[in-house]
Amino acid sequence: MTMDPSRINVILATDCGSTTTKAILIEKINGEYRQTHRGEAPTTVEAPFDDVTLGVLNAAQEVGELAGRRLVDDAGRLIRPATAREGCDIYISTSSAGGGLQMMVAGVVRKMTGESAERAALGAGAIVMDVIASNDKRLPHEQIERIRQLRPDMILLSGGIDGGTKTHVVELAELIAAADPRPRLGSGYLLPVIYAGNKDAVAEATDELVGKTQLFVVDNIRPVLERENLGPAREKIHELFMEHVMAQAPGYRKLMEWTDAPIAPTPAAVGAILKRVAEEEGINAVGVDIGGATTDVFSVFDGVFNRTVSANLGMSYSISNVLAEATLPLVMRWSPLPMDERDLRNRVKNKMVRPTTIPQTLPELMFEQAIAKEALRLAFLHHKSFATTLKGVQQQRTIGDAFAQSASGETIVDMMKLNLLVASGGVLSHAPRMHQTAMMLIDAFAPEGVTRLAKDSIFMMPHLGVLAEVLPHAATEVFKKDCLIYLGTVAAPRGQGKEGRECFSYALERQNGEIAEGTLRVGDVKLLELGPGEEARLRCNPARGFDFGRGGGAAIESAVWGGAVGLLLDARGRPLEIARDEKSRLASLKNWINEWRVYPDAGLEE
């Protein structure tokens, strides 16, 4: 659905995240669309509000006050159409307000189909709240009580090999139907159940579940005892979450009535805009949008687009899960200040229980950015496991190795071939210094070779993604002029070596003919000035064992682009490893932070 741009002068767009609702105003100025103001307010999915539209009105009021334009009337309605001082012509929105994905899985035998189902759900980025199995020693009413109490977002039902006995899996379907599961996000929405069991029992399972749940049938995750086929179930979970579950929230139906275009799930909107950029420029690109409950990663390599939603990696509701999954030592390795474990754990939990708070002090900011690096790193690992050369490959297994599933297919994500890395989401978009955004991206994604870095200026990619559906011209115009801010370029060779040994020498030739030269030793980083809009030639001559994309020790010459940060040279090696010894770790980290001007000098003196 597209609209006539001649009649649209003022656009209000919101993105309802799990924690914050972000509103932007786009206005036609001198014949071109520009993003003019932004406002935000806490998302109102908790008591006493329980209605996502209240957060929308609050954010709209804020943006309206800043713009000097009244957007909400006294009755709490958005004013439309726009006049000189009031209202907007269209209102559009994206949503990821529903938060993370928490599932229950069911299988006949706990150690066989139950575990396969659990692996499929975990592989899709879900948290498995419980595994219901015919042999889990709980009585049916206890299992039913558990389903009701936990209020899962989705249930994966598996059990039985194809052609085998049907009784147990049908009994499980009966059990789920008896639980009459009520989704946590309100009435008028049936709980999705994915059936991935014995194909001969589909009819019976359907009889039990249809009408009480929203049933989807995929291939059996265990078609024969020795073969596991997780792909179809995993992909269906992922798709359902992204397309249906995460956008849901209390008040969602009301919001649907307000918008002039269907509400897009946030990752679908961001993915659409990133894909468009990669296609237009003919480049390989990776984008990330880190939110409060989820982290979404998008990639385009050789024209192939992939997107993943890591449903329980995020900076507020899911922050404690980042710590649980990454483990404390891996988070702490990024902190330039020593921190007491007890204190750090309490801080994480306090953010989890009060998700809308923001860091007020510099140590708090450093600590959140350390966690963000791990959330991004884990989300990217998840993405790589999805973006593979082969889809739906079945894993042949013996009974003996039945419990050690590994991913199938090679990932198509090749960091050496990556041209552009784009950051979006609160902790990245709103970092007080662009240098912080650049360092979070580099530490988490470990780009190799020569890669350009950019960020979503004020977090508006979701809004533009949905705008592209109705006013493609306006979306492209705003994206090019107001959305992307180039941070600069990072150059980093693949390979590892002994600290202090030569890593690579470089020569940067600017457009005015000026040349900056130098050598970096293993473990060094350096920042060279290269401003926004500037382009230069970079020659790198790596030492033996280091590779810029042409093979170990082979020199390269590449165009590099400046930005708000500049040219970041990184001789820390790939894979990126941090010293385990605390003294060396702190010394290295402080050195990198100072070289790349990440935090104010006084920040590390505590």
Partner: protein, 374 residues
């Protein structure tokens, strides 16, 4: 702009509460509308068929299945105890005996002369839904349960573990800041809901379990203790199913935090009264918070009206800081500047000025306070 604020947790001396009490399976509702119930009253019940145990008795006796009925010592409908001999055979002029014993206590449901199996059915198990709170039944959900309503003191916690419990409220310690440690717990607290002041230690919780305390309400708790206590790192805040032997309700947050004066005073004013607690917490869209309910009589002339809409954040509002460096402190909003300010972290954010009393004022991001409602 006053609309943009974080609402605080509910702490009210008088609040109208309704709780839905439902069976996991269809069954019989045992109460009627208007009936007064107590927390442990069963409001609905169903019977779950007992566990079945199949035993191939013919094989154990080494006889043909068709011979099984004649070898049985008990018949269909007989109750047998675990280990009791239920069938016996003799061979070679009675010199060699074989026998089969019941694997569990139950009733013989079937003796199958075709397969040689005996089906034993254990005693049926009652499944019950209790009232959880004392109050009045206001609605019956046919074959499933009911809705119970009461007026009472109500404290919403920030985080909890463990399910429903009840008992008289008792104070441990002498102030809202006193850390809850094992020596404050005494055997007389068995069966009660113990209110601490500041942080509850892991040792105190272990001691409380030993003593048979049913619930602990404390200002704070350490995450490290939580991990040690649960045996795993809690990734997302979804709790309530833990079987730890007691229910824990944390009212303020993680770490060494005093219980808010309003909360402590309210609980202290209700010492000796029956309190109903539930630690179930789900912090995600569609949030569930842990709670303490002290049922009481309806205020004179009260109508069963829903809560008034929360008032917005204005100068003069009482707020609590919910993040360091002022975490846990309570003050009054003294200014609401419209323009965003640069924080110490370097971020720009909308802020407010809080007067903590004694001439101490601080600038805090609006996102880092929650409103304390009157």
């Amino acid at each position: 702009m006053a609309h943009t604020y974080t609402p605080g947790l509910k702490v009210a001396a008088r609040h109208l509460l309704r709780r839905r009490r439902i069976l996991p399976l269809k069954g019989d509702v045992l109460v009627r509308v208007g009936q007064t119930v107590q927390p442990d009253d069963v409001v609905a019940r169903t019977e779950l068929p007992g566990a079945a145990e199949l035993c191939n008795v013919a094989t154990l006796l080494n006889v043909e299945p068709a011979e099984l009925p004649s070898r049985m010592l008990n018949m269909v409908g007989d109750f047998v105890a675990e280990g009791q001999v239920i069938a016996r055979s003799k061979s070679l002029f009675g010199l060699f005996k074989s026998q089969a014993a019941a694997k569990m206590s139950g009733t013989i449901e079937k003796i199958n002369a075709v397969t040689g199996q005996v089906l034993l059915r254990g005693p049926s198990e009652p499944v019950e839904a209790k009232a959880y709170i004392s109050g009045t039944v206001i609605e019956i959900i046919e074959r499933e349960g009911c809705v119970v309503e009461t007026w009472g003191a109500f404290v919403q916690g920030i985080f909890g573990i463990g399910g429903e419990a009840n008992g008289p409220l008792v104070l441990a310690g002498d102030s809202r800041s006193r850390r809850l440690t094992p020596e404050l717990l005494v055997p007389e607290m068995a069966g009660k809901i113990v209110v601490g002041g500041g942080r509850a230690t892991a040792e105190a919780l272990r001691r409380a379990i030993e003593l048979g305390v049913r619930g602990v309400v404390a200002g704070g708790f350490d995450d490290k203790d939580l991990r040690d206590f649960l045996g795993y790192d809690l990734g997302v805040a979804i709790t309530g199913g833990e079987k730890l032997g007691l229910t824990l309700i944390v009212t303020e947050g993680f770490g060494d935090i005093d219980m808010a004066a309003k909360t402590y005073d309210l609980l202290a004013a209700n010492v000796g009264k029956l309190a109903c607690v539930n630690g179930a917490t789900q912090i995600r869209a569609g949030v569930i918070r842990p709670e303490v309910i002290v049922p009481g009589p309806a205020p004179a002339g009260a109508a069963a009206a829903p809560d008034a809409a929360p008032a917005g954040l204005t100068v003069g509002s009482q707020v609590r800081a919910i993040r360091v460096p002022y975490f846990g402190r309570i003050g009054v909003v003294s200014a609401l500047p419209a323009e965003p300010r640069v924080l110490e972290s370097g971020s720009r954010a909308r802020v407010l000025e809080v007067d903590f009393g004694g001439g101490e004022k601080a600038i805090i991001p609006r996102a880092n306070v929650e409103l304390i409602e009157d």
